[in-house]
């Protein structure tokens, strides 16, 4: 079958970079499988419990870059207890023992300890890049090890992690010889920052392109940092409170003007709005703007800034921008591809300021829009139909109407038709989140039309098992299905067990599935881990005479090649 020597085939494979494509290549024949596995440098594992480190290393001995994801997505919303799992320690231990030349590690929703970070920092001479997203379990002491021991560190990117800040001197742990930093993101750190150490580090990092500061970096420090790093491409401003008449502010204005490479702006974790104008001179270059943490900036200031951002491709903002503000975005940002509008009022005072009008305006004004996350007060079918017509190119469509079960506010109908229009028009839709009042009908549409759908999030929707069945039977590419508070039960769960082999995972919480249903599923599918998370009282489930019919609080199942995991806490029952 092979007309070419292995080295040639391998060279051809070098051009194939996506995981999906490389996985496909490895299935062609034994010879290609072998060549592919020895040449694979980047591996992506979407569920850390689907396999184990030993199998990973056996198959890909030349591994350089690893991405691992741990907890299920709903852990973001506090639906998964902290001790559930997702520990990175065994992975790092195994990688260290094997002496693989690890250079990059990217973790999402995993438990990382200082011990893990220390081991990581000492075990891989060429380690370059650490990206931690939504992780927890470590402190700034762990960061100090990374800083001190990774001689060629290029990226230290901490996104939305829960880090215990010991207010130590981790920044001073970067040796004077460390000049290789390209990315430094510590915005999620709560404590003080050694500004002197930070400024010296930035000054000796000529390749630094991305710098995201935490709250403890005041304005005058920002001005100094920007002055010594005019090559900055991606900046996360920390604290932004200042006196517009002060010398620091003048210095900042001057420094900003010199940052002609700046393309991405974020942060403003504490901000005084009237000083945003300092950034106006570089706005015309910005392609990405994240003001979603800047709660103190009112709509009018946001609008003034955005009016200068004609090249914006990505915008994350709070709903305080209002429908009127979104109209300004629609008329200004013609290159917009991704929009996220977050709620500014989570407690529910009803002050949310965006409605279906803002969404329609955006869809009409931004022809390149393909990803949206939109939290709003209300929606109508008519608006969704219009949005579908205006933007048939959606890849990700996530709509969150803040009040569960809310119908079309004009007609009082369920929103089945509106979402139906979206899935029908958007033939490339890969991710969808539903909200509002929805019946089984919307799932019929999804099963019928959403052929490319890989991830679906359902909450407070549907009437009967038929809803879930439409989705399981129709969406051939489904990978991650997560459902909460919907009336789907054992019938839907058990209808086609082999379906779960084609999916990464299924989450069902506060639904109608029973313990006996889950047990039957576990029996039929030994290649699945069927986990019941029951925080109240695990024993109660067994003792209760009606055990079989007891409803399961939280069910999380996923395919795996390594069987039951050994690190589950007592409240997780693996059937």
């Amino acid at each position: 079958m092979n007309y070419f020597p292995d080295e040639v085939v391998e060279h051809v494979f070098d051009f194939v970079t996506s995981h999906k494509d490389r996985n496909a290549i490895s299935l062609v024949c034994k010879s290609w499988y072998k060549i592919e596995r020895y040449s694979r440098q980047k591996v992506f594992i979407g569920n850390c419990y689907a396999t184990n480190p030993e199998r990973l290393l056996r198959r890909f001995p030349c591994l350089k870059s690893l991405t691992l994801k741990g907890k299920p997505h709903f852990a973001d919303f506090n639906l998964v207890p902290h001790e559930w799992g997702g520990f990175v320690q065994p992975w790092i231990e195994a990688l260290a023992r094997s002496r693989v030349g690890l250079e990059e590690l990217r973790l999402k929703r995993m438990v990382v300890t200082d011990e893990s970070l220390e081991l990581l920092s000492r075990s891989f001479v060429n380690f370059k890049s650490l990206v931690l997203v939504s992780c927890e379990g470590f402190t700034t002491d762990g960061l100090a090890s990374i800083a001190a021991n990774c001689r060629h560190l290029r990226d230290l990117d901490l996104q939305e992690n829960e880090i215990d800040d010991h207010r130590g001197q981790w920044l001073s742990c970067f040796p004077d010889t460390c000049t290789t930093l390209v990315t430094l993101n510590f915005a999620c750190l709560e404590g003080e920052t050694n500004l002197v150490a930070l400024e010296r580090l930035v000054a000796r990092s000529p390749n630094l392109k991305s710098l995201k500061l935490n709250r403890a970096v005041p304005l005058d420090a920002l001005a100094r940092l920007m002055s010594c790093a005019p090559q900055m491409v991606d900046l996360g401003v920390g604290s932004y409170e200042n006196d517009p008449d002060s010398e620091s502010y003048l210095k900042l204005q001057a420094a900003i003007k010199k940052c002609t490479s700046l393309r991405s702006l974020s942060g403003f974790l504490e901000a005084a709005p009237h000083c945003l104008s300092a950034f106006h001179p570089i706005c015309h270059n910005l392609t990405s703007l994240n003001l979603s943490y800047a709660a103190e900036i009112h709509g009018s200031h946001l609008i003034k800034l955005i009016q200068h951002c004609k090249k914006l491709q990505r915008l994350w903002i709070l709903d305080s921008i209002g429908d009127k503000g979104l109209e300004v975005v629609a008329s200004t940002c013609k290159e917009l591809q991704e929009l996220r509008v977050f709620p500014s009022d989570l407690v529910g005072g009803g002050n949310t300021a965006v409605t279906e009008e803002g969404l329609v305006a955006i869809s009409a004004g931004c022809p390149k829009l393909h990803s949206i996350l939109y939290f709003c007060q209300q929606m109508t079918n008519a608006a969704l139909v219009t949005v579908a017509k205006n933007c048939p190119n959606f890849i990700r469509f996530r709509l969150c109407i803040l009040e569960p079960n809310k119908p079309d506010h004009v007609t009082s109908q369920p929103l089945d038709e509106g979402f139906g229009a979206i899935v029908k028009a958007c033939k490339n839709l890969r991710r969808l989140s539903l909200s509002g009042l929805l019946t089984d009908q919307v799932f019929l549409y999804i099963g019928m039309y959403a052929n490319q759908l890989e991830m679906l999030s359902i909450a407070f929707a549907g009437d009967t098992d038929k809803g879930m069945l439409y989705v399981l039977n129709g969406c051939k590419k489904m990978k991650k299905l997560e459902i909460r508070d919907s009336p789907f039960g054992d019938t839907a769960l058990l209808a086609d067990v082999s379906k779960y082999e084609t999916m990464r995972s299924l989450w069902m919480s506060s639904c109608e599935v029973t313990l006996s249903g889950c047990k039957r599923l576990a029996e039929k599918a030994p290649w699945l881990n069927v986990e019941i998370i029951n925080e109240t009282d695990n024993n109660r489930m067994e003792e209760n005479g009606h055990e079989g019919r007891q409803k399961v609080d939280k069910l999380y199942l996923y395919r795996t090649v390594v069987g039951t995991r050994m690190d589950a806490p007592p409240f997780v029952w693996i059937l």
Partner: protein, 197 residues
């Protein structure tokens, strides 16, 4: 806009959904409204420990269904973002907890909890400790005889000399503190002393 705050939107779902047997629907569906109604009752499915269970955040629910209650994990905003949006409110909120303290010549910005001090003497001691420099606190007690002045920004955005108003009034209105060199303080634009009591 919907009527807010009275929970009447819950009853709106029962009205005017044409062609639906609403009562039956409400029984079959584990609707949001059900959770509000039943989670304060003794439904055995609900968890007693107040931890997340079948959809009701028991601790937060009032008995009256009219009260707006919160469901755990809803709206689906990740916990990091929730914490950070609440934090903004609390650090700038006047009178509660932490205020920022800056000192001229020191590259660190510090935060301190005003609530943990009992009076100006305590505050003086705490400030000295915070920066590791003796003599800051002296200014509060001894007015004109030291190198530093301690000023604070009040609710209205004005900068005032610390130590003039009664302690209770001070912690209510202090938004942040700044320790300035006396030589820089003249001409800074401090509001005049002598608040009417």
């Amino acid at each position: 806009m919907e009527k807010e705050g009275l929970g009447l939107e819950i009853t709106e779902l029962r009205l005017g959904l044409p062609g639906r047997d609403v009562a039956e629907k409400m029984m079959k569906k584990r609707a949001f409204t059900e959770m509000i109604m039943t989670s304060s009752g003794s439904n055995s499915d609900q968890c007693e420990s107040g931890v997340v269970s079948s959809g009701g955040d028991v601790e937060k629910v009032n008995d009256s269904p009219a009260a707006k209650s919160q469901v755990v994990g809803w709206p689906p905003v990740c916990s990091y973002r929730r914490k950070n949006s609440c934090k903004d409110a609390s650090t700038t909120k006047v009178g509660l907890g932490y205020v920022k303290v800056s000192m001229d010549g020191v590259p660190y910005l510090r935060k301190m909890d005003l609530g943990s001090s009992q009076g100006y003497d305590d505050l003086a001691f705490a400030l000295d400790k915070l920066f590791g420099i003796r003599g800051i606190g002296v200014a509060l007690k001894d007015g004109d005889n030291c190198e530093y002045v301690t000023i604070y920004e009040d609710k209205d955005g004005d900068w005032m000399l610390a130590g003039d108003v009664p302690w209770g009034m001070f912690i209510e209105s202090c938004k942040r503190l700044r320790i300035m060199k006396r030589s820089d303080a003249t001409g800074f634009g401090l509001q005049p002393r002598g608040v009417d009591e």
